[in-house]
């Protein structure tokens, strides 16, 4: 039997959170429901394990709902999002939809309204369980394109997957151009075909669009299918993005299990970029990591005290351990109440497992 879907409710009002939790727990699909009263905690929860749906308020202190949604769109493109707000303003509604929310709902004021809301949520939870494009389930983008070309259509597809947007131009059944993320032509087309799900809309045909693709649609689709088969045949069938996502979930689960707050890693290579888990300030913290490493090296050489094994630091909010591994330095944050002697061993364990 499939595990129940998980729903995360984000609202700064604890009374509202309790109320929604109670209502939503009565849905026929019996979803697991988590609550959060601030955006930062919501992000940490979303990173820790996969959720099906986020229900988000708009007006919140520190990080408002639109900020949360824009981050969510980028980082969790598969997550369904619903805005539930008391703000009756068309500007916010259109901004929320521009961020790709599935539903914008004013906080229900009648029982009937609430029933409708619950039905919509149940429908959103059930829909799109497998890959496919919203509106046409169980049809890949390849199927949709083939149908359009066979029917000699002229149209422009605008395809959205999270923050990614692509366009494909079809003129009289011929694929003439594609564009996404700075790429154009066949490269862009292949890139868009790699998206397994998303949303699309058809726009009016553009007859004067410059043609950059001259191969037939069938030839291009065949090439793309072969490429996908080769990728799938060589390993587990997961895309790099899926593997990265799985790694992130695993790492965050390990961190949470050990009781840690966040981790930042910084490659020894100066050109390497910092990565953060459980924090959005990875770059800021990595600046300190970089300069601290330099200071420590200078000190070690000056005093001739040998290599450094780690630095343990603390402030009123947390305890920190910075330690080097083979290719990276890691900065691990722990709650202030964490046992100082234990966090070194725990950090060492985390770093060695994450770095392997």
């Amino acid at each position: 039997m499939d595990a129940p879907h998980k729903i995360l409710i984000l609202d700064d009002d604890p009374a509202i959170l309790d109320l929604y939790k109670e209502w939503l727990s009565q849905l026929p699909s019996k979803p697991d429901i988590e609550i959060s009263n601030n955006g930062a905690r919501a992000m940490a929860l979303l990173e820790a394990e996969p959720y099906r749906l986020l229900i988000c308020d708009l007006k919140m202190p520190k990080m408002d709902g639109l900020q949360v949604l824009s981050i969510v769109r980028r980082r969790f493109p598969e997550l369904r999002t619903v805005v539930m707000t008391g703000v009756e303003d068309e500007e916010f509604r259109s901004r929320a939809y521009a961020l790709g929310v599935d539903l914008f709902w004013l906080k229900p004021d009648t029982h009937q309204n609430m029933q409708m809301f619950l039905e919509c949520i149940e429908s959103l939870l059930g829909r799109d369980a497998q890959s496919g494009f919203r509106g046409i389930q169980n049809k890949s983008l390849m199927d949709i394109l083939q149908m359009e070309c066979l029917s000699q259509s002229s149209t422009v597809f605008r395809i959205t997957r999270g923050s990614l947007v692509g366009k494909i131009w079809i003129l009289n059944g011929d694929l003439i151009d594609a564009e996404t993320e700075g790429a154009r032509g066949e490269v862009a087309f292949r890139r868009i075909l790699e998206w397994k799900s998303g949303t699309f809309e058809t726009l009016p045909a553009e007859a004067d669009r410059e043609r950059t693709i001259f191969k037939s649609i069938n030839a291009l689709l065949l090439e793309a299918a072969q490429a996908i088969d080769e990728t799938g045949g060589s390993g587990t069938g997961e895309s790099n993005e899926e593997v990265d996502h799985r790694k992130t979930v695993w790492r965050l689960a390990t961190l949470t299990r050990e009781g840690g707050e966040w981790v930042v890693s910084l490659p020894h290579d100066v050109a390497g970029a910092a990565e953060g888990w459980g924090t959005h300030s990875a770059n800021e913290f990595s600046n300190w990591m970089r300069s601290a490493t330099e200071s420590i090296k200078r000190l070690g050489e000056q005093i001739e005290a040998g290599p450094w094994s780690h630095i343990q630091a603390q402030n009123f909010e947390r305890k920190l351990i910075m330690m080097p591994s083979k290719n990276k330095n890691f900065l691990v944050a722990w709650p202030p109440a964490a046992d100082s002697s234990g966090i070194f061993e725990k950090s060492k364990k985390l770093v060695s497992s994450w770095d392997s």
Partner: protein, 96 residues
């Protein structure tokens, strides 16, 4: 004799690890110190400078620290922030 004088040439002195504590002001000047007076003051000042830099850069990274401890193979440097300056403890793991 020439051979003997060859052996008598000064060898590089083995620098001892610093042991003790010191307080430094926000400008990195050593205010008080219990570290042996034979230990070079300029090295102590460099230690103080790097310690203050670590605190300052942590503040700039929005990660203000109240205390840190650097673990070297043979020495621990513990520093506590004190109104812009610091109290620094130098503890050799295996004092010579």
């Amino acid at each position: 004799m020439g051979l003997l004088s060859l052996f008598a040439k000064a060898r590089p002195a083995l620098q001892r690890l610093p042991a003790g504590s010191m307080t430094v002001d926000r400008d990195g000047q050593i205010v008080t110190s219990t570290v042996s007076s034979t230990y070079p003051v300029d090295v102590l000042e460099k230690i103080a400078g790097e310690v203050l830099r670590l605190f300052q850069e942590a503040r700039q990274a929005h990660l203000p620290l109240t205390e840190f401890r650097i673990h070297f193979a043979s020495l621990q440097i513990t520093a506590r922030e004190a109104r812009g300056g610091a109290i620094i403890f130098l503890t050799p793991s295996a004092p010579l």
